[in-house]
């Protein structure tokens, strides 16, 4: 069978990937720059078995996801920054109730209503927990339309494997950009979720999905269980990519769309005799702390620079990994502006 190759927008690609992953329910509320996801699903709906529902708000859609996931279905929602803020209540409940599902945040510039242009200003919210309590999201950060497809499917799979919510954190530029993608064949999704609330048959105890544990000891036990799971995820699911790191003296750290700009910076730098390399986290949580730490031990490495479309968020995790062994610098733009390779090169030069 020949490969299914298409030229698609990032948002459409993620919707198509979700269908191929066996999507059973999508609940969402329109917001730019991700509305193509729900629009694509709306057009494709008659050809497939999934349920598509436009909710009255992101508060509601996150809670519809809760209900659908607890009923054992493969469910998702997508939104952009202000909408993801509204979903945080649901995210926290879903994490505690250990419900597998997929969130997609096609981020835009903030704070507030902000701009509809791309941004990476939701990093803290995604990886440090935008909702209340001690929970984590598996956070996948695609930097191409192909990875929108791959990480959508991976997100669903990891969510099921660990009974935890996963988030694809991308931005408006990747959501809107068109590229070639190779689509995988559709899978026949067969959920195996004996804990789901599907109606209690005679031969099993009732299933109760809850995040309520009034007794402190019980609540701590649940937290310990969650932390053990997060530890396993941290040990097994870190993903990152290196580009010209072997002899790098300047290590750029960038994810998503800025990692594409930074690849160019590496090439430009090397043309100008600067030994620049790039470490690109593909998972933002768990974070490639160990990989960065190892680089910090290399005597040839002079400095790190985190390049972001934010006022400096991921740089804190780079610093935590480097632990003061090398200088860690930051270069970023906000407001939806994608930094150019030239300005990043200049920022590096200023530190050398």
């Amino acid at each position: 069978m020949s490969a299914d190759v298409r030229f698609m927008k990032g948002n459409e690609a993620i919707a198509e990937a979700a269908i191929r992953a066996g999507l059973q329910g999508y609940f969402g509320y329109p917001i730019t720059p991700q509305s193509e996801i729900v629009e694509y699903l709306a057009i494709e709906e008659p050809k497939h078995d999934y349920v598509l529902l436009q909710a009255e708000s992101e508060v509601a859609s996150a809670n519809m996801v809760y209900g659908g996931a607890a009923a054992g279905a493969r469910v998702m929602t997508s939104t952009s920054s202000p909408g993801f803020s509204l979903m945080q209540e649901g995210v926290s409940y879903i994490a505690c109730a250990q419900l597998p599902c997929l969130f997609v945040n096609v981020a835009r510039g903030g704070p507030g209503l902000g701009t509809i242009q791309a941004s990476q200003g939701d990093y803290f919210q995604a990886v440090k927990g935008g909702g209340h309590g001690d929970y984590r999201l598996i956070v996948l950060a695609p930097n191409s339309v192909q990875e929108m497809v791959d990480y959508c499917i991976l997100g669903f799979e990891l969510a099921d494997q660990y009974r935890t919510p996963a988030l694809v954190l991308t931005d408006g530029s990747i959501g809107q950009m068109m590229e070639k993608v190779v689509l995988p064949p559709p899978i026949a999704y067969k959920p195996n979720k004996p804990w789901a609330t599907t109606g209690k048959p005679q031969d099993r105890e009732r299933n109760a999905i809850t995040s309520l544990y009034i007794e402190s000891e019980e609540m701590e036990a649940v937290n310990n269980e969650l932390q053990a799971k997060y530890k396993a995820i941290s040990e097994n699911e870190v993903r990152y990519e290196g580009y010209n790191l072997d002899d790098a003296e300047v290590v750029l750290v960038a994810y998503g769309v800025t990692s594409r700009v930074c690849r160019k910076v590496v090439d430009l730098g090397r043309d100008n005799g600067m030994k620049v390399g790039l470490l690109r986290p593909q998972t933002l949580w768990p974070y490639p702390t160990a990989a960065i730490s190892e680089l910090a031990d290399e005597s040839r490495v002079k400095l790190f620079m985190s390049v972001e479309m934010s006022a400096g968020q991921m740089v804190e995790d780079v610093r935590l990994a480097v632990e003061g062994r090398k200088p860690v610098h930051f270069y970023g733009r906000t407001g939806g502006i994608i930094p150019t390779p030239e300005e990043i090169i200049n920022a590096i030069k200023a530190q050398l």
């Binding site: 609940f27 508060v59 209900g67 009923a71 609330t197 599907t198 109606g199």
Partner: protein
């Protein structure tokens, strides 16, 4: 359960209600409605077909007592959660079991939109005119002049507005198939309450749309009275403002508008 010699069993705990000590205060209708619902689950033989959603409020622990599959939901989000469940399991019988703070304050948007979409699940709405769980604060259904911990001089409607009549309100939505207000103040009303819930479940099974049962309920603890006094309060104070009755029933032929 076997009867003692010389006695006849006239009422018993249904097998679908777990044999546990309930945390509800003595005389609270939450426990009455739990029992009615679980009797229905037993009688209608729907234990394997029913999924419940209980949001935050005194009944957040309903899954501790009801021997059926259940989900606890965030405060106010029961209608959204139940929507997710029903959309994924359209052949199951789904209900939400909500207090007035939950359904008519923090979750009003979810309530209205689920009703307007005609989500095919059953709302069991326990209207006790107060926030029971958090210690008796004012609810959207607190009566004019009624004292609560956040309206210690009585609800001032000029300042905080009027009590919401939800059963009447949702009856206006096209998506709603059935809306009725009942109570449990005496055996006859309690039986009527059970019949109403049964009717709602049956209509849901037929896929007719949203079914909404409001129970004019009590909160002896929050109202700071005895269970007996709470019944009198419902009859004397609540029912004049929150009248019992059927506000919508799509299975009844529409009455011709009078010319």
């Amino acid at each position: 359960m076997t009867a003692r010699e010389g006695y006849k069993v006239v009422a018993k705990r249904p097998s679908t209600l777990l044999d546990k000590r309930m945390h509800y205060c003595p005389g609270c209708f939450h426990s009455t409605v739990h029992k009615l619902m679980m009797e229905l689950v037993e009688e209608m033989e729907i234990q394997d077909k029913i999924v419940g959603v209980c949001p935050v409020g005194c009944s957040v622990f309903a899954y501790e007592y009801m021997n059926i599959d259940m989900q606890e939901a965030a405060h106010g989000r029961a209608a959204a959660v139940a929507t997710g469940v029903k959309r994924m399991l359209p052949d199951k019988l789904v209900f939400s079991y909500q207090g007035d703070g939950d359904l008519a304050a923090i979750g009003t948007a979810e309530t209205i939109h689920a009703c307007n979409r005609g989500e095919n699940f059953t709302f069991i709405f326990i209207n006790n005119g107060i926030y029971g769980m958090t210690g008796g604060q004012m609810a959207p259904t607190t009566l004019e002049g009624q004292r609560t911990s956040t309206s210690p001089y009585g609800r001032d409607v000029a300042k905080v507005g009027y009590p919401l009549r939800m059963a009447e309100m949702v009856a206006n939505f096209e998506g709603v198939a059935y809306s009725q207000r009942v109570t449990c103040t005496n055996p006859a009303e309690t039986r009527r309450c059970k019949r109403a819930i049964k009717k709602a479940f049956e209509m849901q099974m037929k896929g007719l749309g949203t079914t909404f049962i409001e129970v004019a309920s009590n909160c002896p603890s929050g109202w700071k009275c005895t269970p007996e006094e709470s019944v009198t309060w419902i009859e004397d104070k609540m029912l004049p403002y929150f009248p019992l009755g059927v506000f919508k029933d799509v299975t009844k032929k529409e009455k011709k508008a009078e010319a």
